[in-house]
């Protein structure tokens, strides 16, 4: 019994690790299709990771130990975040280690590390990226918290597994508070994953980059870990969205078979989400950096309205 539980925990950690680059590849492929390009194929992120791990890591001579340590810490944080989110099952040994608030704390820890690492070399780009990342973060983090609070008011719990189970077992209906929360979450999702209206993952133009500016000094295996961590972050946010708003089909027992059974429905949802994300990115233009606070403040306020609606209407 304990063995099967442990095994299912391992599966739920390894699955995101293995699938995260695939999701990124899928999004990039759909973006390529939408802009009438052939695209590199959905396996491209794996090839890139393999290539980067094989390269020498070239590090600035002024880099401190924090700079070398940060990629591992960020990778670890993102992996743990994926282990906490009920992706395949709501009954996992590690689920009680953290609730929704702790998850946000974990993501914030990763953000602080990536910003500090970016400031470490002392180049203009690094500090610029770090400042912008913290600017996005200080509004996106409370917005995400309000989304999670709206959801936790529904389930009367901040434990993610309980929230998901509450949604699964409820009548299928449109809940106003969740509608607001869902809108808020979409905006946070775009901002936190450096997606188009806020940042552009494909750009290296100094005026527009945020995430890319921060990892500009990394190369080789360190860059590989950073890229993998970014893919894991996208995966974590996607599965978090699925868990909060579309959890149907998730396994509710901690057995490997139950996990494997929920895998197809998860895959299907991710395919749809990835395609929609690519569509949104293709159809929207990047915001000026000082429009970003407005964008995120909207998300924050939508989250607060979600909470208020729940208290007013009880749903």
């Amino acid at each position: 019994m304990t063995f099967t539980r442990a095994l299912s925990q391992v599966i739920s950690v390894v699955t995101p690790l293995a699938l995260a680059p695939l999701l990124l590849g899928w999004v990039n492929q759909v973006r390529a299709w939408l802009s009438n390009r052939k695209g590199p194929g959905i396996l491209q992120p794996y090839r890139m990771l393999h290539k980067l791990f094989n390269k020498d890591s070239v590090m600035a001579d002024t880099a401190s130990s924090l700079f070398r340590f940060a990629p591992y810490a960020i990778f670890g944080c993102m992996l743990l975040a994926n282990a906490i989110i009920p992706t395949l099952s709501t009954d996992l040994p590690l689920a009680s280690a953290a609730d929704a608030i702790a998850l946000v704390g974990l993501l914030a820890l990763a953000r602080v590390f990536i910003s500090l690492a970016a400031m470490d070399i002392g180049t203009a780009f690094g500090t610029l990226g770090a400042r912008r990342e913290m600017l996005v973060g200080f509004l996106a983090e409370p917005a995400l918290l309000t989304v999670l609070f709206s959801a936790s008011l529904n389930g009367k719990s901040t434990a993610l597994a309980t929230i998901v189970e509450a949604v699964v077992h409820r009548d299928f209906a449109i809940y106003p508070s969740l509608v607001f929360a869902g809108m808020a979450f979409t905006l946070v999702y775009l901002a936190e994953n450096s997606r188009v209206p806020v940042d552009n993952p494909a750009t290296h133009l100094e005026l527009t980059m945020i995430h890319e500016a921060m990892i500009l000094e990394y190369s080789g295996r360190h860059l590989a870990l950073m890229e993998w961590a970014a893919a894991l972050k996208l995966f974590a946010y996607s599965t978090l969205g699925i868990a909060l708003f579309l959890p149907w089909g998730i396994g509710q027992r901690a057995t490997p078979s139950s996990l494997l059974l929920s895998l197809p429905s998860l895959g299907l949802k991710l395919v749809v989400i990835g395609a929609v994300l690519a569509l949104v990115e293709t159809f929207s233009a990047k915001l000026r950096i000082f429009r970003v606070p407005e964008f995120l403040a909207t998300s924050f306020l939508l989250g607060v309205i979600g909470m208020l609606t729940h208290i007013l209407l009880g749903a």
Partner: protein, 673 residues
């Protein structure tokens, strides 16, 4: 401690601190003796105090004692209960680290003589401990005032600089305005019985009007000490002026004495609880928190930044207390206990991480002579110990798992999320907004702290001389290391701390959360039930560490892990210098732009025709211009007018005395009637 009561132990430590202080006078200029012997001895005293108080806390005994000090008919009533014991533990633990650090920090020939500093420092510690023991208004005020005075002298240790004297005066002024309010509050609480012991105050049943008056006076009086808006104005002046160990002691420990006073008055001395008290306190706390953190993010001086961050944390403590009061007024004691636990947890957490951060600024200041963020940078290369210890403080202060700040933030958010269920619908509407503001504050705290750490320790040195900076000395490392260990310990072993807090909340609101919290194992905090919410910080620590280690090993197993050093890439620019990095102003610029209405900005922008363009922007507090300057001008105006009465001739003064006597004689019979 066989038959000796704990309160005696505490009194012995207080006595020892006073004795050490007096020894300081004897060895006024013997620097080595004072620094290397007296301060470490004082530190050991702190440790013993913490141990004794922790034992009292666990045993749950209430001990009281009378000391025949002071006026003949007014002995000092002393009492040690769970609340005072908890705060004594904090004084003891924090002062150990700070005193050890101070042993290595103070330099000969800087301002006040070493022996005098030793006197002030240990009297300060002793008076804080005495504040916690006091069981009547008289001894409380004596201890409270000695605390204010000794800390005033410590702030002005470098009294040759006029700026520091001014900062000290401002602190003293606001401390005394606060003290008057506290005195009046006690006056209301004793309800015309003339008996100023706390026991008598507890026995009084005040009407809701007088109880509210006492409550508001207490908020004002203790709020002045804590730095609640708009009485926060002294913090950003006094903290940079004081030597770093003193800032640490004031911010980490002394501000908590005000929290203690409020808890004592609101939950112990007053029985009546009215719902709007909680709302007032909550609103004040949230406004203070947001204001403090927004200002912290735009500061360019490292100790001012930390001072504003302290204001933010005090705001959070007020919010937690307000919530507890709100729950208490509706008889929801279990929830009040949860909110109070969050408050007390944060008291402990903030005491350690803020002391740690102030101490690191001290080391930076000594190593570089700079306190302006714009002239620092890259220090992690020259002072790695200080940098990594500061990082722990920064992460704890940003409320990130698995450090101490996160646990209290988590408990606080949990207690907010339990709120839907209050009988007043409009209060239930306010709660989401309050919760969202707490979340915003926490995220902004991260912003300010990343700025603090990044600009001081990371990047390239902004000045040539910084490459000569040396790491902290042995004593300094031990002191900071101790506080860092406490910050981590509070983060990873929350249930042990909650067990210590439990007797306090049981004493104040008659309920505690320790039993529920550790029901699912000591490593997992579950405020009510595991289905409701749970948090296991050790999983975090080991999870992240294991993932790091596995990644580290796997990379080396499957790939080669070679490393080359070269010049930074930096987008391919051929040359670079340290001026191309973000300055502290630059880092705060987004916040300045978003929260512009908060600030009083003085911008100087060049005109198109300027041949030597100059840019400058100065951010200052709106409260200076809005509240303090008008009051100061009014005072000067009034005193100029009153000056006319003073003619300098004795016959006129005699006339004044005569008129006064007449008026009094007229009034006295009316009062009797």
């Amino acid at each position: 401690m066989l038959n000796i009561m704990t309160i005696d132990w505490v009194l012995w430590i207080i006595g020892a601190w006073i004795a050490l202080g007096l020894l300081g006078i004897v060895a006024l200029h013997k620097f080595a003796l004072v620094a290397r012997v007296f301060f470490p001895l004082g530190a050991v005293g702190g440790l013993i105090l913490a141990y004794a108080a922790a034992r009292a806390l666990v045993s749950g005994r209430v001990e009281s004692k009378q000391l025949a000090l002071g006026l003949p008919s007014l002995p000092f009533h002393l009492r040690l209960d769970a609340l005072s014991a908890f705060f004594l533990v904090i004084i003891g633990l924090a002062s150990f680290g700070i005193s050890i650090f101070a042993a290595g920090y103070f330099r000969n020939g800087e301002g006040t003589a070493p022996g005098l500093l030793c006197l002030e420092f240990h009297f300060f510690l002793a008076s804080m401990a005495l504040v916690l023991l006091a069981d009547d208004a008289y001894s409380f005020m004596v201890a409270w005032e000695s605390m204010a005075l000794t800390s005033y002298f410590l702030v002005t240790a470098n009294h040759r600089l006029p700026k520091i004297r001014a900062a000290g005066f401002l602190y003293l002024l606001i401390a005394h305005i606060g003290a008057i309010a506290i005195l009046l509050c006690f006056g209301v609480l004793q309800a015309n019985t003339g008996d100023y012991t706390f026991a008598n105050m507890r026995a009084q049943n005040l009407s809701s009007f007088w109880a509210s008056a006492a409550f508001l006076l207490a908020i004002f009086g203790f709020g002045a000490k804590a730095g609640i808006l708009p009485l926060h104005i002294w913090l950003p002046e006094a903290h940079p002026a004081a030597p770093s160990p003193v800032s640490a002691l004031m911010s980490g420990v002394m501000l908590k004495m005000a929290i203690y006073g409020l808890l004592r008055v609101c939950f112990d001395l007053l029985h009546l609880h009215i719902w709007w008290w909680g709302v007032v306190m909550l609103a004040l706390g949230l406004i203070t928190a947001i204001f403090g953190v927004v200002f912290a993010a735009v500061q360019v001086e490292m100790k001012r930044l930390l001072a504003y961050s302290s204001i933010e944390n005090i705001g959070l403590l007020f919010a937690a207390m307000g919530l507890a009061l709100l729950f208490r007024s509706y008889g929801m004691n279990a929830l009040a206990a949860l909110a109070l636990t969050a408050c007390l947890y944060h008291v402990a957490g903030h005491a350690f991480f803020k002391s740690l951060l102030f101490l690191t600024t001290g080391s930076v200041l000594h190593a570089t002579g700079e306190r302006n963020l714009g002239r620092l940078g890259g220090l992690i290369r020259f002072m790695p110990w200080v940098a990594w210890l500061a990082l722990i403080g920064v992460l704890a202060s940003s409320g990130l798992p698995p450090f101490s700040g996160f646990v209290s933030e988590w408990l606080l958010l949990q207690s907010f999320l339990f709120t839907p269920g209050l009988p007043q619908p409009f209060l239930n509407m306010l709660i989401p907004i309050a919760t969202a503001s707490i979340a915003l504050t926490a995220a902004l705290a991260g912003y300010a702290m990343v700025k603090f750490f990044g600009v001081i320790f990371l990047g390239q040195p902004r000045e040539e001389k910084l490459s000569q900076a040396h790491d902290a000395g042995k004593f300094e490392k031990i002191g900071m290391g101790w506080l860092a260990i406490l910050s981590i310990g509070l983060g990873v072993a929350p249930n042990s701390v909650i067990h210590l807090i439990d007797p306090v909340t049981r004493g104040l609101v008659g309920d505690g959360i320790a039993h529920n919290a550790s029901a699912n194992g000591w490593w997992l905090v579950t405020p009510t039930s595991i289905a409701r919410a749970s948090y296991g910080p050790l999983y975090f620590l080991f999870g992240v560490m294991a993932a790091c280690a596995v990644a580290f090993v796997l990379v080396r197993l499957f790939y080669h892990a070679r490393l080359r050093r070269s010049a930074p890439w930096g987008g391919g620019h051929p040359w670079r210098n340290s001026r191309m990095q973000d300055t502290a102003e630059g880092y705060g610029q987004p916040i300045r732009q978003i929260f512009e209405p908060f600030f009083h900005l003085e911008r100087h922008l060049p005109k198109p025709e300027d041949t030597e363009p100059e840019y400058s922007v100065a951010v200052s507090d709106k409260f200076w211009e809005g509240i303090y300057m008008p009051i100061a001008r009014a005072t000067e105006y009034v005193s100029a007018k009153v000056g006319r009465l003073q003619q300098g001739r004795i016959s006129i003064y005699l006339l004044y005395s005569f008129i006064t006597l007449l008026v009094i004689l007229l009034l006295v019979p009316t009062a009797r009637r």
